[in-house]
Symmetry: C2
Subunit: 223 residues, 2 copies
């Protein structure tokens, strides 16, 4: 009997470890950048469809990826360069796909997944600074727009506001335009306005309409 | 000791049941159509961006959703109407979003998730017949294209080939054009060619290029 108990307890421990691995999220960085087939597939598509000069690029994570930008801005040469789950680290790995095409404008929205994985605002903002520096170096003619991280579930409020203050300073330091979307998506309790979302993170149609309206003046300008 | 063993075995059974629930997919239909916030978000976007006459609509599941169709066909008024995880049942629930816009062409690729959820080819094909009948009734001027279900992991070969034979007949019965993509994506072992995928289901860039080349003659024709 004792051998059975030891075996069963060991099996329980293995299940528990697997559950923790799957739930807690420490694996997410690994999965995303080393084995996530979804990230690799989007990466391969982007390699096959190079950015062109004059393109308007939307770069980011699932919030960007889920926007049908060609429908939101039907008259512009838009490129959706969002990947679900992406982070500042992921963007650094694929930034050359953007810069070597020398797009006309680049709209960056990144960082909420970094926060979800427990990264500190200071370190996330540092990565964004590296991104902006590299963009400006490789494609100085691209007009850069840094968008503030959107609200999500209320417990993220303090971290997001901290991150956004840092991002605003970094955008200014790199000559990028700061687009403060955040207050336009915020509910009174500090969360993402629930008429704009159904999971406290991603956007329903009304969220994309609001975002589009905020971007429109910057898309009509020459850059 | 015996009580501990019983407790431990029960805990193992609970873990195993949870793992099966999460892996095997019987919950997917429930999640997709009753609580999946991703399906609801895409649905809301599609409601806010109605199809227009003359549009070229790509309708289906994640394989369609993951294509940046505006980049694949930059000169056409394309609409991506794919939703990850969708099935024939899901399409029936959102078909009016398509038909009421009276698009110029509609390219349908659906059924692989139905198979994944254990549906029989006959019942899947019956749903596609309902879809085609409703499309033709509501928007008789739309040119309908039924695409064969793509290969995936080899164990699906028999079911997919059975389903495709049925779909071909149903397309003919409804005056839709049959586009037999299947053989162009097939490897010798009956699976999706592994140069086109990294998960035996979804497409890498080369898969989308192959698909685009097969569609191109039908997109250049008047309909």
């Amino acid at each position: 009997m004792k051998r059975w108990l030891v075996g069963s307890l060991a099996l329980n421990a293995a299940f528990l470890a697997t559950a923790l691995y799957l739930v807690v999220g420490a694996q997410d960085l690994f999965v995303t950048y080393f084995v996530d087939p979804g990230w690799e597939r989007r990466f391969s598509f982007f390699e096959a469809h190079p950015i062109q000069p004059g393109d308007v690029v939307f770069l980011g994570d699932s919030i960007t990826a889920s926007g049908e930008w060609a429908e939101l801005f039907p008259d512009l040469p838009v490129r959706n360069r969002g990947i679900g789950g992406d982070t500042t680290e992921g963007l650094l790995r694929r930034l050359q796909q953007i810069t070597r095409g020398r797009p006309g404008k680049l709209f960056l929205l990144i960082g909420t997944n970094d926060l979800g994985f427990g990264k500190e605002p200071a370190s996330i903002a540092e990565n964004v600074g590296t991104l902006l520096g590299e963009m400006h170096r490789a494609s100085p003619e691209t007009a850069l727009y840094v968008q503030s991280v959107l609200p999500r579930a209320g417990e993220y409020r303090e971290a997001i506001e901290d991150l956004n203050r840092r991002l605003e300073g970094i955008a200014a330091a790199h000559g990028a335009t700061w687009l403060d979307l955040y207050p336009h998506f915020l509910a009174g309790d500090g969360s993402l306005d629930d008429v704009l979302t159904n999971d406290e993170l991603h956007l329903l149609a009304d969220g994309y309409e609001r975002w589009r309206d905020l971007l429109r003046p910057h898309l009509q300008s020459p850059g």
